[in-house]
Symmetry: C4
Subunit: 231 residues, 4 copies
């Protein structure tokens, strides 16, 4: 079932240790088949060296296991909530990558300070508000998704143009049109977190790049007038 | 003698350089057999590339060498003191891992700032008080154990729920139900030290996560109602 | 066409991931043949593992493609502007190396704080002013070159003695008498950015080395009286 | 000539890139044969991959080349000055290792903040005063040695107990009873610089360890009453 997607999700999961985004099992990737509304996701707590395409779990959007011998990731409900609300995305990544977590624990967004971020994120990478006690106590993982969606809706952020978020006191989620692109965005987020952390220590001035420079870099890689690459 | 435990302790020692927790011989792992009250520990000052299961030393809880051709780790008395007082633990790790030492030298606990820590440590990772001159001068290694135990008793910390400590101006000790878990906790401690160091530079606000979020993450992985992983 | 230069530019491009100066495709190297005024440059957005000498693109100083099946790097116009104005240089490197970007995003030059920098850069490594809206909106990549040249001319900096720059809110460009030397200078710039960042956190005093020490180190490696190495 | 020492110096030089203490050719190791007063040292500016025991240069204490086809390291005069004045040392290392240089550029000693340093250095690792113009202009490398010796004599520091120094705005020199031990001390210096940098950012309090703890750790590894290791 969903063999091509299984392979994509498997490869994307295996890319996390390769890019040094995870320690132990602290991360997971999923992908969705928008025709059948089925999601392929990493099993919970399984070591990366034991992972194969066959160990991945297929769930529907209500979280029912459709195929698979393992429990799905404990973060599955968060993934599903994002797929339900961000209609264009095809893959999601969650990690505890260290620079991103440093911002998340400080409750700080990553400001759009330079062109590296602008090449992939059309503005700041937002941090969610702290979750309320009742959100943590009941349906925590689903509510983690809800607070992400609230962050984007309240601040009128387009998830297609800001493909990632920091969950307060927790860590990053990123997404993309497929699992591979979601991993790519996770690498970028970690890298800009590292660089902008250091910029913030070097300067107490306004750290933001100009809107015109942000437009230029984002739009030369994305949208109808893009001219980066071979297309 | 104690062949299975010897192999566990050997594997756990060899994991320290693999996880980049040690430089040269700056670390040691032990394991205890609670039936015989015998402890298997790394020999002192032996390079990791020369280590084999056979070079490990077996001592009793009074520190007498029961089997082995080498001197046991100079930190043996600290390990024994912890085994005598923390009755449930089966393995102990000591390293000079750099981020943990950075906090230890600053005399600072690692605050529970995010879910990465909460997944393994049910609160702050404490730093001991500075040792007194007479504690350093006489039975230094044993007293290093005593000051760890004092830290947990005085602050009513359960060593099963906070499986690690920073010895002031020295470095981390971690433990677990076996040597492998103790190493695992040593990796986690080092990682959260790195991340929380950076969070503390980013924010002068209250760095603590909420108690409810701490409960949620610790208890979804530990205890009767845990639901992380495949159990 | 230009087979020797093609190989040099290819080797220099492949050195970027080896020296960990780039993530994904975030960098490019070019080289110029001063006899024919033709420039060999990396194609845009092609992964390093897919790069061969044959995939490189040959352009003239007006940016016309003379040979090659791919689009040249989107930064080509910046390279050409530098070749036109810095007459002695034979190779150019652009990366988003993290420590250099940290200074660029903070809008800070890298001060000449020690002998490591002095061995290669005869003074501070300057940051450009922020680009004006109209410079970003029209001919952005060419104007990126212009603002670099302005920085050197206005401040009377000799590009042969300061073989690199930080473009504000963007990242580093370096150059040299050939592509290999340009990569070498890119490694040095990244390394001194890392070290001087930390020196600046350690000390609020004047961070500059003395002019006499700067002279000594630069001139013992460069110019008629150099005595470093085997010449 | 001096085949055993040649091999030791060769191995010690090759250990520098292995321990990530150097970039390019920014470092050198020498060793002395105290019977003949001959010194074996790395040739100047030769890449580590081209180094063999045969390429090393033998010089006498006046710097005359006794054997070798290459120029000796440009820092040779510094090494010789140290061998002449620190009578017990058998090997010297110079690097531009990044954390050590960060302190050197800031003009700061590395304070004895924890037991990692105390295991190898019996106190602070001192930084020299800035060199005077005339010291830089005439016999610079020899005077670099002189300012190191002045630092130890003026502050009554025993070079056998503090086997390393930071040359102001330059970088570290370390030494030991042989080239291997000198490299070992260079690794330790870099590691404690990294850790203590972070401790200093975490705490504005007194960062020093107690004298009694410093005594304990240094003396349990060094001197007549040492009990660390297998002796």
């Amino acid at each position: 079932m969903l063999e091509a997607l299984r392979n994509q999700v498997y490869e994307a999961n295996m890319a996390l240790p390769e890019y040094k985004l995870i320690t132990f099992t602290w991360g997971n990737v999923s992908g969705i088949d928008r025709d059948s509304n089925l999601v392929v996701i990493k099993p919970s707590g399984v070591a990366y060296e034991d992972l194969t395409p066959e160990t991945l779990v297929v769930v529907d959007l209500e979280g029912e296991i459709i195929e698979g011998d393992f429990n799905p990731s404990s973060d599955t409900a968060t993934h599903l909530e994002l797929y339900k609300n961000f209609k264009d995305i095809g893959g999601i990544v969650h990690t505890h990558s260290p620079w991103a977590v440093s911002f998340a624990q400080a409750g700080k967004s990553i400001p759009a300070a330079g062109t590296t971020q602008a090449d992939y994120f059309y503005g700041d990478i937002p941090v969610t508000r702290a979750m309320k006690n009742e959100e943590i106590e009941i349906d925590y993982e689903l509510k983690t998704g809800s607070v992400i969606i609230e962050t984007f809706q309240k601040n009128k952020i387009d998830p297609n143009r800001i493909p990632g978020v920091l969950v307060n006191d927790h860590g990053p989620f990123t997404w993309g049109k497929n699992p591979e692109e979601a991993v790519h965005n996770s690498v970028v987020l970690e890298q800009v977190a590292e660089m902008t952390y250091h910029s913030l220590q070097l300067s107490s001035d306004n750290i933001y790049m100009s809107q015109v420079l942000l437009d230029k870099h984002y739009l030369r890689k994305h949208g109808d007038n893009a001219y980066y690459g071979q297309n």
